[in-house]
């Protein structure tokens, strides 16, 4: 226990000490929300509803739609990049200090994943500073609902990160692999634009993408689709379904939970086999 705590504490401590990284972490979401979001909202709005859109579709607000996706994106990015610390520890030698101690490898792996999840959770919560500029209403109950979901998603993604990190020797290699992985996952998750009327093969990729379900949970919590008109809900891509079955929040939670367990086990096994 103490071991897990120590590994976790180091990563969290270093996160809060790194001011540049803290401030820099606002840059991407800011650009997406303000530049991309506001810039595109006219175009996307007219694609969805058209100037003369009747009734509910006029309420489509692209920036508001994007906001849960941006939180999702921040959580994924931070969680998956948190595993970079393992590669860097190997490069800078600190991994040896960790690996020659009597701590079990399993504790170390779990400490690392928990550290990454915590950092990603904080980054995700930090995105709430954009709320006043966007016009979504976020209440305390919504935040309380968001926290466990963000943590679970972050846990799954951090485990994937650790799995990749234990297989790679250099930071550059790691960053390459992650870039190649994260962009298609983001674009095919519905985080940045509504996924409607896609070709079948693309729809398939969307449905096997764990981020899809993660982003959808954020949307369900923040946008509260039950209160929206059915046509608007459809336009925003909020009726995520697999084989015609509309997926519920708790089913999505199960999917992410199962993925978390799967990947944390894989990453731990892999880490147990790695040499100092």
């Amino acid at each position: 226990m103490e071991a897990i705590y120590a590994i976790w504490q180091r990563d969290v401590l270093k996160f809060f000490r790194d001011r540049a990284r803290l401030i820099g972490s606002f840059a991407m979401p800011f650009m997406f929300l303000i530049l991309f979001g506001s810039g595109m909202s006219g175009a996307i709005g007219s694609m969805v509803g058209g100037e003369a859109a009747a009734g509910p579709l006029r309420d489509f607000d692209f920036v508001e739609f994007m906001f849960p996706g941006i939180i999702g994106m921040t959580v994924f990015n931070t969680a998956i990049f948190s595993a970079l610390s393992v590669v860097q520890d190997r490069e800078f030698g600190y991994l040896r200090e960790i690996l020659v101690s009597p701590m079990s490898r399993t504790s170390i792996a779990i400490g690392k994943v928990l550290g990454g999840s915590t950092v990603a959770l904080f980054q995700g919560l930090m995105m709430l500073v954009f709320v006043p500029f966007i016009g979504v209403s976020i209440t305390i109950p919504i935040i309380l609902q968001l926290i466990p979901v963000m943590f679970l998603v972050a846990f799954a993604i951090s485990s994937i990160g650790l799995l990749i990190a234990t297989s790679l020797k250099t930071s550059q290699g790691f960053q390459m692999v992650i870039q190649v992985l994260i962009f298609p996952m983001l674009f095919l998750s519905g985080a940045l634009f509504p996924l409607n009327g896609m070709p079948a093969w693309m729809d398939f990729l969307v449905k096997i993408n764990p981020l899809t379900y993660s982003v959808d949970m954020f949307k369900k919590i923040i946008l509260q689709p039950e209160g929206l008109a059915p046509a608007l809900r459809e336009a925003m891509g909020l009726n995520l379904s697999v084989f015609g079955h509309v997926i519920s929040f708790s089913e999505e939670m199960m999917v992410v939970l199962i993925l978390s367990i799967l990947f944390v086990v894989l990453a731990t096994v892999r880490f147990n086999r790695s040499e100092a």
Partner: protein
């Protein structure tokens, strides 16, 4: 004296390359035990096997009574390790580095404060406790690593080239700390070096070359075994001089770096007669007591120094590679 380290037939095979070819030795409790050898001799590889970082290909070894393969975690708790390359977290403070180490090794909470003070005292870094390690000099980092290695009261402290890349003054300081350690903590110290003067401080020295132990004894005994004093001459014609030396004086002559080296008993008396009677013009003459370098030369026919001249470069580029 009890043996705290016992090694039997330890081998390491790196995909067909035998880095360590079956070594046997014991280290007594409280001893300062040194591994001396040129680059690539297999010193680090041996230390890494003993400290459970890499698996031996063959053979057995135990530390503090625990087998290095079967009882890994108990071995790990019994040893402190200072690697050839730094393993500090330079973004954290000295105190944070030490605190984490206490947690990694399960040092009880109520003892941590006291222990950290104690080890920082030994290496004279008490006033730097709250500083980020990034701001430390090379020597201070080394001292902090030594301090950290002591926190969990290891029975054996492994130091792989503890002073490589440091200036002579800092090297001397580090040695003061290591000797102070032996006195204060009474722990066994196992180190590798390719500096002769450092090997002199050890209670016993194992000389290693090409993965083999070629000698193991106290520094004094090793030097005595070499036999006699050493005379080094440079002449106008080394080839001819060599022939004469072998024929007339019946000594074994070694040629290295443009000079001839041979050994005689009672060097000073010999030298007076020798210089008077030698026909070939002599350019320089040097008489000295044997050093560990001569021990190495006598055992292998090579000088350890030639190879170490470039070793600093090697270490530096190695670090750069790691720091990229």
């Amino acid at each position: 004296m009890n043996n705290i380290v016992e090694v039997k037939g330890l081998k390491k095979n790196y995909k067909g390359f035998l880095a360590v070819t079956g070594v046997d030795f014991e280290v007594g409790e409280g001893e300062i035990f040194g591994f001396l050898g040129p680059n690539g001799a297999g010193k680090s590889t041996t230390i890494n096997m003993l400290s459970t970082i890499i698996k031996p290909s063959e053979g057995k070894a135990s530390i503090n009574g625990f087998d290095i393969v079967a009882d890994k975690n108990k071995v790990r708790s019994s040893i402190g390790l200072i690697f050839q390359e730094s393993t500090l977290d330079e973004k954290l403070t000295a105190n944070e580095n030490l605190m984490l180490h206490c947690k990694f090794y399960g040092v009880p909470k109520e003892k941590r404060e006291e222990r950290i003070n104690e080890v920082l005292e030994i290496v004279d870094l008490k006033d730097k406790r709250g500083n980020i390690v990034d701001t430390f000099s090379g020597g201070m980092k080394r001292r902090l690593e030594i301090a950290r290695g002591l926190l969990h009261y290891p029975r054996v402290l492994f130091l792989d080239e503890p002073t490589v890349g440091l200036d002579p003054q800092t090297r001397n300081h580090i040695w003061e700390y290591i000797l102070r350690l032996k006195e204060k903590a009474g722990i066994t110290i196992f180190l590798t070096t390719h500096y002769m003067d450092e090997a002199e401080i050890c209670d016993r020295v194992a000389v290693m070359d090409h993965g083999k132990l070629i000698a193991l004894d106290t520094p004094d005994q090793l030097k005595t075994n070499v036999g006699g004093d050493i005379i080094e001459i440079e002449t106008e014609n080394n080839q001819e001089a060599k022939a004469v030396l072998i024929e007339k004086y019946e000594v074994e002559v070694k040629e290295a770096g443009g000079s001839l080296t041979f050994q005689v008993d009672k060097g000073s008396e010999f030298l007076v007669q020798f210089v008077k009677n030698f026909d070939i013009p002599i350019k320089t003459v040097n008489l000295r007591r044997p050093t560990l370098n001569d021990v190495f030369l006598a055992l292998t026919g090579r000088e350890i120094r030639e190879e170490t001249a470039s070793s600093k470069e090697k270490v530096k580029t190695g670090m750069r590679r790691g720091r990229r």
